[in-house]
Symmetry: C2
Subunit: 444 residues, 2 copies
């Protein structure tokens, strides 16, 4: 069985811990069985493999998430990179082509598409496993998972099944309703649409080829930015007549707001946080080095990162989007292929950054057009290359890199360096990665 995990867009709903390039699925607020903090993507990946060790997981995502996924899940997981964001139908079409054309997956194999963000228990992926047999029975082209509603929620789409059987043909779909309608749907046995779809790979390839003009995966990839944004629900699901749904009644929570995240996060607080004994129902996450003291608060969430600080009533936190959008969106933290990048000071004309590299990892060989850099190694051992010159570096060593100089660092041990950027324009976009042959040309 093939699983396509949709690792979706940039989210601001868990600001300041999520931002344009650091989506909520990477925030480590859960715990694995050994008590170590883990993220949603880590949790889901291991839940899938624990329910079915033979499942083959491919993560469909944008290139901005690749480093975070590799850092959290390692090199074994398969990643299908979307060149840009084009909603779920093009994403699933691309992933299907990737599985067939790049991975050689047979058209008869069962593929299950799952979103990466619900908080569920193990029984959910046991339900997902049942989809394979249902797909191979051939009674439907598409098999969905429907969640037994716990409240008449206005936040989800509803699936109306023909019957209340465990597996039932779908009668119709309903958009996010008001409360009254939701109650009415539920009285008819309606289920929440969890965004889980199972099908034969061949079914999806046929759909893709019938709706998009492409020859194979590489062709689709190369024209991806010209595709129209359209959801899988709209393009495929709502038009399909041979469609059925599997009921699921176990734990399933959407952690799309701090209010919901606070219900499932492993610890009431994480990081350097002091809650006085008069606090009630307060959750706090502190990714900064400085302490947070919270006193006499009730029903609140406090979250701090290098991007900003949120102090909010839990209920109210769901309304945060327009406020966050109005706040400056400078990204102060990013997961890189080599480790992490944190802006620790920003002034007109300069930016100071803490770079932490993991042992054995390296930056790409690159250069900037408009900025000079000064690196001071503060811990660890490594090697820098600047315009072809190699230098062993240790704490206290300084490397100055003028605009136009090609440069990189290779961490021998875990290594930390303070980088000061100087220039009139300090854009993240001013980065030119050298061709793969550049080092060889320099005899390295």
């Amino acid at each position: 069985m093939q699983i396509i995990l949709l690792s979706g867009g940039s989210g601001k709903r868990l600001w300041p811990l999520s931002n344009d390039i650091w989506s909520k699925q990477f925030i480590k607020l859960f715990k694995d069985k050994d008590g170590n903090y883990e993220s949603m993507v880590h949790r889901v990946y291991h839940q899938i493999l624990s329910a079915n060790p033979d499942a083959k997981v491919t993560i469909a995502t944008s290139h901005t998430q690749v480093s975070a996924i590799r850092n959290q899940l390692g090199d074994a997981v398969s990643i299908c990179v979307e060149p840009c964001r084009r909603d779920t139908f093009p994403a699933i079409a691309l992933a299907a082509a990737y599985l067939h054309d790049e991975k050689g997956v047979d058209k008869n194999e069962c593929v299950v598409v799952c979103p990466v963000d619900p908080y569920v228990d193990g029984s959910y992926y046991e339900a997902v496993n049942k989809l394979e047999a249902l797909v191979h029975q051939g009674t439907a082209n598409l098999t969905l998972v429907g969640i037994e509603p716990t409240v008449p929620s206005k936040k989800y789409g509803y699936i109306i099944p023909e019957s209340r059987e465990s597996v039932s043909p779908v009668k119709e779909f309903k958009e996010k309703p008001d409360r009254e309608k939701a109650e009415q749907y539920i009285s008819q046995g309606a289920l929440w649409n969890a965004g889980v779809f199972a099908f034969r790979l061949g079914y999806m390839l046929d759909k893709a080829h019938s709706m998009l003009d492409f020859s194979d995966y590489r062709d689709l990839y190369s024209q991806y930015d010209t595709l129209t944004k359209i959801s899988f629900d709209y393009a495929v699901v709502e038009k399909e007549t041979r469609i059925q749904v599997l009921r699921y009644a176990g734990e399933w929570r959407d952690v799309g707001s701090w209010n919901m995240m606070s219900e499932v996060m492993a610890d009431k607080s994480k990081g350097n946080v002091t809650l006085d004994e008069t606090c009630e129902n307060v959750n706090a996450v502190n990714e900064l080095d400085i302490p947070i003291l919270i006193m006499g608060c009730k029903d609140m969430v406090v979250a701090a990162s290098t991007d900003g600080i949120l102090v909010s009533d839990k209920e109210r936190s769901g309304q945060m989007k327009p406020y966050v959008e109005a706040i400056s969106t400078d990204v102060h933290f990013a997961e890189k292929s080599y480790g992490t990048y944190t802006v620790i000071d920003a002034q007109p004309g300069s930016l100071t950054i803490k770079n932490v590299l993991r042992a054995g990892h390296k930056m790409s060989y690159h250069w900037h057009e408009h900025k000079d850099e000064v690196w001071t190694i503060v811990s660890g051992r490594g090697k820098t290359i600047v315009d072809g010159m190699e230098q062993i570096v240790r704490p206290g060593d300084v490397v100055t890199i003028a605009a136009g100089c090609k440069h990189m660092i290779i961490a021998e041990t875990n290594l930390s360096l303070i980088e000061v950027q100087i220039g009139k324009e300090l854009s993240l976009r001013d980065k030119n990665v050298c061709d793969t042959g550049a080092l060889a040309k320099e005899g390295l």
Copy 2:
């Protein structure tokens, strides 16, 4: 008239904006008549001079506050530096000796001792001005200001006067009472003890010489660390029989907690703060560069600095002391003679600091035993001296300073530099200031 302003101890009651070396009287949350933010010490100093342009002000304080006072009030104000903290009797004795022995003030002159921290309006210092005439009348050795109580507070000492006249002999003093006793005192016409004492300079010198064994100011200064800690109230006021009190009924507030500060601060929020429209009675101060978003909160104070973040119910904020004491007390911000010093990153073995120098100011010529430093100039122009070698510096220039090297920087314009310290022990105490002749010896 001489005024001794007691600029008291390190305060944690307005943490994280006040710390061991940055007392609450330096936090700029008030506004002057031109709408510029000003601190309590700035406000009080100008209120005194506005009520009496001929008043001579001497600030009695510890050496840790001298830079902040000079930066905020300029070089004209007189400062009597206590070598260490020994409570108010030794501090006032030292200031009295300073006025007489160093400044040549006549023993018959009126001296008024005022704490620096009450928030008052102009009429308060008009009352203070009246003390001079009362002192010269000679009907008492000590004249106090008593504040008409507005509530039966448990936080202040009470003065019981003989009569309800505007000026009355003092009958007795009462320690901080419980609420019931406070009500009883107030029904007898009692006043809050504001810590304001007026006397002839000669009176105080006699008291000092009778209780402490010293010849003159310099002698007292040199043995200051051997003096017993004792308050002026206990050592002098409560033993004096010829003592009177002047009633004051205008505005007088102790801003010793965030709850009280929030009542008098000029703006509801300061710094990069967004309050959503559902917030009620929330005050926020953000000294960090990152944004704070506050949603759905009520009756709260939020304060953030490089030392930490406070999120507290206003009432509850008065109970913060034990919690703050339990939190790590690393100081991340300091006002220096040259400008400001802010720790922006701390790791084992390294410390990264943003130094901001004002035009025309300089660091002292100094060296460190155990740490190397790397300076990167990020804005402005100046000159560094390292082991006698001068160098003109501009943005992008790097200066490396090995342990043991003498070094300094002189800012020609406003100048900002990022300093990376490397070493196994990174103590603020590892700083050795060179003799005044050191530069001359190097021919500079």
